[in-house]
Amino acid sequence: MRLRVALLLVLVCSPAGAADCPLDLGHGTGIVIYSDRYMLALRPDPMRIEVGQPFGLIMNVCTKGGEPADLVRVDATMHEHKHGMNYAPTVQGGGNGRYRVEGLLFHMPGSWEVAFDVRPLGQAGGEIQRLTHDFVLK
């Protein structure tokens, strides 16, 4: 039931930290995931994800160069059972790389892969890259 993911201290000494898209989510904590092009900082809200309870994500989405990026879509899948959520999350915010994702709900214990589709800021037809993070609920 409880999210047992160690929340990593966000190190703001990366190149992103020096630009307009800091990865610090305000409390000095968060989960940081990255690809060759993007860095994402995210923090569940509430912090503890419970089975069957809605939650949101507070996110900063940046390029590795420290520029804000577009968060296009967020979704989650239980690969073990090959099903997703029963809910369609919405992404709010943007422009400065800061987002709030609403309407996530993990309805079963187990491993959920959350996928984040990201593209360069303001490029509606730009190439989308998918970053993922696994949450394990017991």
Partner: protein, 389 residues
């Protein structure tokens, strides 16, 4: 010699045999069992219902629950199907309103803790759900006008309404109908089952109290291990309520009669979104909209077809028949169903959530023994308090 004889006699009569053994539990199993408590949870509160938790509204709801004048025929009440002396259900395979319906009457125990209501989740609040049978032409077949007129013209109910809502019944028929449903919901939120022998075991297990654990029958412990382990039952029957609050396809036949299917959750979402009484509508008392997150984000998907709400399992041994259509008469039948269900019917392309468990007879008996420890003796319902003493 006498002590030895006494010991022998105790063994024969069960004086010592009553002390059950405690199985070994891994940390993962302790964690899984722990998730089914503690019980009871904190009190129910629904931000969309300003009457939730209010004593005067609960009293009004209690009176309305057994009020036949809420029905078009003035002969049918909520309590006619959800009978207090029968675990708040009717015991029939399929509910009977003005005609026989396609689904069974669910028990109302712990209903206030749910997030979706009805077998298809077509209601997102207990007050919205309470409206449905009142208005359904196959059930109570009443109307907003009839309910509002009753609240305005019956002196006792009008007084009870004023105490509950702080104003006399007004001219807005739909508002009065919804308020009646909110009072009904406030009453139903009080129907919470007592603690069970499972809860005592769960607490002892979490606390490492071996003596407490030994009071729980060994067969129930084995059944619990199956429930959280090989059976994967706890994947859906999760948490203190033994339900994750969502929906699943359990392999029950789709067809309710030749050529006609029950679409379950798929149709429920469509009805939810089309209704003016959902949490996004004008009748919700939650100005923040925070309690409408599920409603705002729920999305119909193809796999919802034939899915039905995962019922909680507290009082399960006393609330048969089972499944949404009442098609299985006993707990033993339910365990047999999950032991032999056809994977072809379920169409899963992943690790199936429901699959034939192929339980042996002793394993099936253990699983039933565990499920029966989720039953509690419930207190007799006290007489309804007067509306305006």
């Amino acid at each position: 010699m006498r002590r030895a004889a006494l010991l022998f006699a105790m063994l024969l009569t069960g004086g010592l045999a009553r002390a059950e053994t405690s199985l070994d539990w891994t940390p993962e199993e302790v964690s899984a069992v722990s998730a089914h408590g503690p019980w009871p949870p904190s009190a129910v509160s629904d931000p969309s219902n300003r009457a939730s938790g209010d004593a005067a509204a609960i009293a009004l709801g209690r009176h309305l629950f057994d009020e036949p004048r809420l029905s078009g025929s003035r002969q049918m009440s909520c309590g006619g199907c959800h009978q207090s002396g029968r675990e708040w259900r009717d015991g029939r395979a399929r509910a009977v309103g003005l005609v026989e319906l396609d689904r069974r009457t669910p028990s109302l125990w712990n209903v206030g803790y749910q997030h979706w209501f009805g077998w298809d989740g077509a209601a997102d609040s207990l007050w919205m759900q309470s409206l449905r049978p009142i208005l359904d032409p196959k059930e109570m077949a009443s109307s907003a006008r009839a309910v509002a007129t009753l609240l305005r013209e019956d002196k006792g109910l009008a007084c009870g309404y004023e105490r509950a809502f702080g104003e006399k019944p007004g001219d807005d028929d739909e508002k009065l109908l919804v308020d009646a449903a909110k009072a009904l919901a406030a009453f139903q939120q009080t129907l919470i089952t007592p603690r069970t022998s499972f809860d005592a075991f769960r607490d002892a297990l979490v606390a490492g109290d071996r003596a407490g654990m030994r009071r729980y029958p060994a067969s129930a412990q084995r059944g619990l291990k199956l429930f959280i382990g090989r059976g994967s039952c706890a994947t859906c029957h999760f948490g203190p309520l033994f339900s994750n609050g969502e929906f699943g396809d359990t392999g029950v036949a789709f067809f309710v009669r030749p050529g006609e299917v029950d679409s379950g959750r798929h149709g429920g979402i469509a009805r939810l979104k089309a209704s003016p009484f959902n949490r996004l509508g004008r009748h919700s008392d939650d100005a923040s909209g925070g309690s409408a997150t599920r409603t705002r984000h729920v999305e119909a998907q193809h796999r919802n077809f034939g899915e039905f709400r995962v019922p909680g399992l507290r009082q399960v041994g006393r609330t048969g028949p089972y499944m949404h259509d009442g098609s299985l008469a006993t707990l033993e039948d339910v365990v047999k169903h999950y032991s032999t269900v056809s994977p072809d019917r379920l169409h899963s392309d992943g690790t199936p959530l429901v699959r034939p468990l192929a339980l042996s007879e002793p394993e099936s008996a253990d699983l039933v023994a565990f499920l029966r420890t989720l039953d509690a003796e419930t207190p007799k319902l006290a007489p309804a308090p007067p509306l305006c003493p």
